[in-house]
């Protein structure tokens, strides 16, 4: 047995060496360029891939910027901390991060700032002591209100029971939007929110949670999913349950993933800001800070083609309003992201 294990390990050894060698060639970095790391909540999520496209666009436009697009496999704070540790080691000039946990990332991001790295958060915020500025894709109140409006629009006369399918119970931005949505509900007296379930931003779990929702609340007419993973799974679950036309799915989603749901009738309309613009703007904001601009309340920083962002008292700025997609425009945007 010992001899066999020896053989096995030798093979593993050869494999790792070859692997490392293969990557060695790719890591040669050019000097004097600004390295900006764009950190996603998790890789393999269409939203963040689209943001990366925008970041690359900004890099090309600015000229001397290199984008390092990275993130953990699963949406955990610990995974992101590992990623940030390795970015600190690589001495990147700036980190633009969409946080899985606004508190747990603070110590490691503080360390990054102590080593001279500019830190901004975008999409999902980090607590103010762990970053220099935060870029919101839109304002939370506008998103919450948009979710209410989408739900009301999906119902014939704006009346009926609705339910929410969210990401994880600890997701910073989903929780904020749901809170804003509840705040805006009195403006839509026909809407009756009966349940909130969590699909953890996993397709299979979101699908199962939707199935459960359809069974426990058969009178729910609209499912609002403020997450790009959940909305697709929910639309699929509604379609598979044969409830197209009785139950409508809406919320925040990506046109490329939602085009099918819009055509099948499971979804009438949904909204999202443009993640390409968001990645572009976050990169620009990080670049502004690297070039010596100060992030302070009231400061106006350039976002390139997106205009300027004005920071509020918490060093936060909003990029733009969410945009509504329906059968008239979804195919056009599906080709983009």
């Amino acid at each position: 047995m010992t001899r066999l294990r020896t053989l096995a390990l030798s093979a593993a050894l050869a494999g790792t060496t070859a692997l490392a060698g293969a990557f060695a060639g790719a890591s040669a970095a050019r000097a004097a360029e600004v390295k900006i790391a764009l950190v996603a909540k998790s890789l393999g999520n269409g939203f963040f891939e689209a943001a990366d496209k925008g970041a690359e666009e900004a890099a090309k436009q600015i000229g001397d910027v290199k984008i390092v697009y990275t993130g953990p496999t699963t949406t955990t704070a610990e995974g992101q901390i590992e990623v940030v540790n390795s970015l600190i080691s690589q001495k990147v000039d700036a980190i633009a991060i969409s946080a899985n946990d606004k508190d747990a990332l603070v110590p490691v991001l503080k360390r990054a700032m102590a080593r001279g790295i500019k830190v901004v958060s975008w999409d999902s915020a980090v607590s103010s002591e762990g970053r220099m500025a935060h870029l919101n894709p839109s304002s939370n109140a506008l998103i919450g209100n948009m979710l209410d409006k989408l739900a009301a629009d999906a119902l014939p006369d704006g009346k009926g029971k609705i339910a929410i399918l969210s990401a994880t119970a600890t997701s910073t931005n989903q929780n904020t939007w749901i809170a804003e949505m509840k705040k805006g509900l009195p403006k839509y007296p026909g809407l009756d929110l009966v349940a909130t379930v969590y699909g953890d931003d996993l397709s299979d779990k979101s699908y199962r949670e939707t199935q459960g929702l359809l069974q426990t609340h058969p009178d729910v007419k609209v499912i609002v999913a403020p997450t790009s993973v959940g909305i697709v799974a929910a639309a699929q679950a509604v379609k598979d349950a044969g409830k197209v036309g009785q139950v409508f799915v809406t919320g925040l989603g990506l046109p490329s993933e939602m085009a099918g749901a819009v055509h099948s009738g499971a979804t009438k309309s949904f909204a999202i800001w443009n993640p390409i613009d968001l990645g572009y703007s976050a990169t620009y904001l990080a670049y502004d800070l690297v070039k010596g601009e100060k992030a302070a309340p009231g400061a106006e920083l350039s976002l390139g083609r997106m205009g300027k962002v004005k920071l509020d008292d918490g060093d936060e700025g909003a990029m733009a309003d969410p945009f509504v997609y329906d059968s008239s425009n979804v195919d056009k945007f599906a080709k983009v992201f």
């Binding site: 010992t2 593993a12 494999g15 490392a20 993130g71 610990e78």
Partner: protein, 341 residues
């Protein structure tokens, strides 16, 4: 008639029985640990060649934070797996310990009290696991899959989507402090504990008993070993180790959410199995587990420095694990076929 040597033959020379069949040096050279060490060295050299940032003492120190806490749990898990059991609830225990410490901190408890709460809750969770396995006779994989959800569920029940972050400033020392120069408190603790675990496994009656139980629990029982009690102790030890990991991780994050340490159980089991511990129990060494922890840490950190996406990283780790377990079986099969042919 008496038995006599055949006429003409000389009196046979006394047979020499060597103490060992192979020299200790040769035995070490062909051992699993030596090759793991070679893998670790190769990964180290490859990383140093591949990334200009790798050979920096502070960077290496930063890198240790990513795997130290899991490795501490792996030290205790190695004993459990060697005894033929498994504990899949370690991530849940970390979450519950962290939640308990967060609540205690909110109630105004100081740092020594918080550490006591973390370790105490960890030991209690471990004791519960141990009693389920040893007294009720549940298979450990089922019992701890149950408690995995139970412990994390309690944590979710207490916190929901909330967060606890009122930790005293000096509590961060456990997760962010340095014992000496770039040697972090966490890492120093891990090194000390691996020495203790090594001695306990290889030089004490307890260590021998653990492996005896893993080889054949019935035989161990009939040899007079108190199998049930030892099993309970083992689960309490993983509980304690998870409690310690919770103290460090919470100190490092400065906050607690119920999703803390999600999925740790698989990483911990990976380290133990990669370290050469038989998943069926009975065999394995502590140096193997410690080196495997380094290999895992170095591989993930090195790939991270090269910005290899996490998805590719998990493919590499998965392939490494399957390869090290499956290859000996495949090669063995091939050799046997050649011999019989």
């Amino acid at each position: 008639m008496t038995l006599q040597a055949a006429p003409g033959s000389a009196v046979p020379a006394p047979r020499i029985l060597p103490d060992r069949l192979v020299s200790p040096l040769r035995r070490f050279a062909t051992s699993w640990e030596a090759l793991l060490l070679a893998v670790a060295a190769a990964v180290f050299v490859a990383n140093a060649l591949a990334s200009p940032y790798f050979l920096d003492v502070w960077n290496l120190s930063d890198a240790t934070f990513n795997f130290t806490e899991k490795s501490i749990v792996a030290l205790a898990m190695a004993f459990v797996i060697m005894a033929g059991e498994i504990d899949l609830s370690v991530g849940g225990i970390v979450a519950l310990c962290s939640t308990a410490m967060g609540e205690a901190a909110a109630a105004g408890l100081g740092t020594p009290g918080l550490v006591a709460v973390g370790l105490g809750v960890g030991a209690a969770c471990g004791l519960f696991n141990g009693l389920l396995v040893a007294r009720l006779g549940l298979p450990s994989i089922m019992a701890t899959i149950g408690t995995m959800s139970l412990y994390r569920g309690l944590s979710y029940l207490a916190l929901g989507d909330g967060v606890l972050k009122g930790y005293p400033a000096d509590f961060a020392w456990f997760g962010q402090g340095y014992a000496w120069g770039p040697l972090s408190v966490e890492f120093a603790c891990f090194l000390a504990l691996s020495a203790v675990a090594g001695v306990a496994l290889h030089r004490t009656v307890f260590g021998r008993a653990v492996r005896a139980i893993g080889s054949n629990a019935f035989a161990a029982l009939f040899s007079g070993l108190r199998v049930g009690r030892i099993r309970v102790v083992l689960f309490v030890l993983t509980g304690l180790a998870s409690g310690l990991a919770a103290v460090m991780l919470t100190g490092r994050l400065g906050s607690t959410r119920p999703s803390i340490a999600l999925g740790w159980e698989l990483d911990v089991v990976t380290i133990v199995v990669l370290g050469g511990v038989s998943i069926q129990g009975g065999s394995g060494t502590m140096p193997g587990v410690v080196i495997a922890a380094f290999v895992m840490g170095l591989v993930t950190y090195g790939l991270g420095l090269l910005n290899v996406p996490g998805i590719v990283m998990s493919i590499v780790v998965g392939a490494m694990l399957i390869g090290t377990i499956a290859l000996p079986i495949l090669v063995g099969r091939a050799l046997r076929r050649r011999r019989t042919a």
